[in-house]
């Protein structure tokens, strides 16, 4: 399918906070209560529409385990957006956010849009981290914040789409250099026909020449 832009996302956070479940809910609209351990990295992709433009999200879901940290760090490069996830029922996952944030900022480009996500909002009775605490952390570090539930799908769409909207706005403002792939953004085939200099570009793109 043709698209105007491709955004690369990463999902990071402690093990067991629901990163893979968020991805599965977003790409497949389903919830898997017992999810296998993620070793290294997993991929997902979905098309969304912002401002009438087709945008393809290419999502890299990383392993949360400490043992895999040095490997997963190498996947931060070239991401335009990051979902930093903690579990509202486990205080320690919230406490580790600073480390994750430092890691992300150090290994990715400075313009990366980071969305802070408090997951498992359906488990209100077991909540250990107040919503206000999440909001405060996000405000302090300049992040966007949202509580989600991968189980009920509450706010999952919004989390991914709002991040994309932020990135899209940054593109409009000229903050992102869309010609540098290290920024995690690629122009899709939809852009090519409008480019008068490359009339043949549209033809090759329609053959599915677009890479993700």
């Amino acid at each position: 399918m043709s698209y105007a832009y491709l955004f690369k996302y990463i999902i990071i956070g402690d093990t067991g906070v629901g990163k893979s479940c968020l991805l599965l809910q977003f790409t497949d609209k389903r919830f898997q209560p017992v999810h296998d351990l993620t070793i290294g990295v997993e991929f997902g992709a979905r098309m969304i529409t912002i401002d009438g433009k087709q945008i393809k999200l290419q999502i890299w879901d990383t392993a949360g385990q400490e043992a895999f940290r040095s490997i997963t760090r190498s996947y931060y490069r070239g991401a335009a957006g990051a979902l930093l996830v903690y579990d509202i029922t486990r205080r320690d996952t919230f406490n580790h956010l600073t480390t994750w944030l430092e890691d992300a900022r150090q290994h990715s480009n400075s313009n990366m849009v980071i969305m802070l996500i408090g997951n498992k909002s359906d488990l209100e009775s077991r909540r250990e981290v107040k919503k206000e605490e999440g909001e405060a952390f996000a405000r302090e570090h300049g992040l966007v914040f949202m509580e989600t539930s991968a189980k009920t799908a509450a706010n999952v769409e919004e989390a991914f789409i709002n991040t994309a909207r932020e990135i899209y706005e940054k593109i409009q403002e000229g903050v992102f250099d869309i010609n540098n792939e290290a920024n995690g953004i690629k122009l899709g085939p939809q852009h090519l026909p409008s480019n008068a200099n490359t009339p043949s570009g549209g033809a090759s793109a329609s053959q599915g020449g677009a890479c993700c």
């Binding site: 070793i39 043992a67 190498s74 996947y75 070239g78 020449g209």
Partner: protein, 576 residues
């Protein structure tokens, strides 16, 4: 002469890129219709990457993600696998891998299970590696079926003895062990695969060539067959025991130069089989220079003639050594159309598809929980030594204590991932660097980590089952005699022997038991030691010239034979 290398390099790279890029075009550069692909490009089936999209993401040259199987229940014995694409040296990841679990079955009565793990490292295109990953195990299955009656445990052989078929009086008595039949099947398979690629290229588009390393677990033993510069290493504790030799221009220098001397027409008048201590130039003509003939390993003097200025058939040292200034690996499949730069000289006659097969007797060996077989393409070994690999594996396994059941089964996957990480390293500014800031590989990397204890357990269970089955069968023989018309009675022992959990999807079942030939069972005690090398045929033939005699570094000599066995034995003793 640098140009020769340059040309070789660019022709190899260009071949690939055009081969991969033009997949949507049906016409060649001159407008001629292109042959179809036999198999589409893909990644190993057990990774379960869905569609072109995920294959592209996995092949991101800038990030080089380390890809592991999505569902490890698809991996025999929770074996580990990991891969990473090159840093841009070719468009596609040219490594391929295959796992096949099947069984040999004779008249639905007795089954011999086997597990097959293979790595193929492609060059100058993806075609040969893709073909081999799709077809080699099928050919092997057929070859093994042809000798199944020699592989079954003793009762079956006795039966054929009773039939009197093997009492062929004029046939000289020669003891051929079970192992030799499996080795023979492997060797015949490699030869046939290479021939198949040769024939296919008139009907299909098969580009490039590939190396091959196969580990076959069957009858309680591990057979490692290698043709190329991928490597299999047994990692035991923090010690490494190589189970294969690398076949490169450097290690096969003698074989190739001998062939060149025997068949000088293969050199097209442009290359020489002589080896000089340094390349002679015009000014050296008439001077004496140190040199050696193909039949020499040491050095002597020769007065240089204009003839001697030709380019050496094998040139360069180590990883840079090349045959006919072109190829850096001397065994494997494909490359039938590969030619020396700016000439019509074919490279293929100097290459061989013959594997070296080594055997580990897993049933007899004391095997420990952390004993693993590591198979990797040269992307792994170029950067990480055998010993470092063994260390890394043990470190990885230690991170997964047995008490943590949920994570425990991922330990071999994690070990494989860590190994790829060791050799891929991290992107530092513009170059890939290892953890100790050395140059990392920019090549494709693929690694299997296979636990040996799990196979041993599986094998012993099967053996027990076979024994009780043959027991039941002899009981059953009595009941058939009594109630010969009752089909349920006849079927029951067969059903009991079925193994419903096995993957049987792509097994060829055309194995009609051939006429039994004279054979006797090898005394199992005869094969002592862990590693045995099976490469008996050392005849020199065109295109498949065999091993040189004694040289300082002889790739075909079992380097581990003398050294590894005692150490393994020692360890066994201290542990028992």
């Amino acid at each position: 002469m640098l140009n020769k290398f340059k040309n070789a390099f660019f022709s190899v790279v260009n071949n690939l890129d055009t081969a991969s890029l033009d997949k949507n075009n049906d016409v060649g550069p001159n407008g001629e219709p292109k042959l179809p692909l036999k198999f589409p490009y893909t990644r190993p089936h057990f990774l379960q990457l869905n569609g072109e999209d995920e294959i592209q993401v996995a092949g991101d040259h800038a990030i080089r993600p380390i890809i592991v199987p999505r569902d490890i229940t698809k991996m025999p014995w929770n074996s580990g696998y990991a891969e990473a694409v090159n840093a841009g040296k070719s468009l596609r990841n040219e490594d391929q891998a295959r796992i096949h679990v099947g069984y040999l079955e004779r008249r639905s009565r007795q089954r011999i299970p086997y597990s097959y793990f293979a790595l193929f490292d492609g060059h100058a295109g993806t075609g040969a590696a893709i073909s081999a990953s799709n077809e080699l195990h099928c050919i092997l299955h057929d070859k093994l079926m042809e000798v199944i009656h020699h592989l079954l445990p003793t009762p079956e052989i006795n039966e054929s003895t009773q039939n009197g078929r093997n009492q062929v009086l004029w046939f000289p008595e020669r003891e051929i062990g079970v192992e030799s039949f499996i080795v023979g099947a492997l060797e015949a398979t490699f030869h046939e695969m290479d021939n198949l690629i040769a024939e296919d290229r008139f009907v299909y588009r098969v580009t490039g060539g590939c190396t091959v390393v196969v580990s076959l677990f069957i009858c309680g033993k591990l057979f490692v067959s290698n043709a190329g510069d991928s490597r299999a290493v047994l990692c035991r504790g923090r010690k490494a025991f190589p189970l294969s030799n690398d076949f490169t221009p450097e290690t096969e220098r003698q074989r190739i130069r001998k062939l060149a001397a025997l068949q000088p027409e293969l050199l097209g008048g442009e290359y020489t089989a002589l080896d000089f201590s340094r390349r002679p130039n015009r000014r050296d003509i008439g001077q004496r220079l140190l040199y050696r003939e193909p039949h020499m390993t040491g050095w002597a003097y020769k007065t240089v003639t204009p003839e001697d200025l030709k380019f050496p058939v094998v040139y360069g040292e180590g990883k840079r050594s090349r045959v006919l200034a072109t190829i850096g690996v001397t065994r494997g499949f494909g490359d039938h159309d590969l030619r020396a730069p700016n000439s019509s000289i074919l490279i293929k006659p100097f290459l061989s598809s013959q594997p070296e097969v080594r055997i580990v007797d897993i049933e007899k060996e004391a095997i420990y929980d952390t004993d693993v077989l590591v198979m990797g393409t040269d992307g792994l070994w170029d950067v990480t030594s055998n010993e470092r690999v063994a260390e890394s594996v043990q470190r990885s396994l230690e991170q997964f204590p047995a008490e943590d059941a949920a994570r425990y089964r991922y330990r071999f996957t994690s070990a494989a991932q860590d190994l790829v990480m060791c050799s891929r390293g991290k992107l530092n500014e513009r170059s890939w660097r290892t953890a100790d800031s050395k140059s990392a590989t920019i090549d494709d990397i693929s690694v299997f980590v296979i636990p040996l204890a799990a196979y041993k357990e599986e094998h012993l269970r099967w053996k027990q089952e076979m024994e009780s089955q043959s027991q039941r069968q002899s009981d059953h023989q009595v009941s058939v005699d009594i109630a010969v018309n009752d089909p349920s009675t006849v079927e029951s022992p067969v059903m009991a022997a079925n193994q419903p959990g096995r993957m049987t999807a792509d097994i060829h079942t055309n194995g009609i038991p051939p006429v039994d030939k004279a054979a006797t069972l090898l005394d199992p005690e005869e094969k002592a030691g862990v590693v045995a090398v099976a490469e008996e045929d050392k005849d020199t033939t065109v295109g498949d010239a065999a091993a040189p005699p004694e040289v300082i570094v002889d790739p075909l000599q079992p380097v581990t034979d003398g050294t590894s066995d005692p150490e393994i034995e020692d360890k066994n003793e201290s542990n028992s």
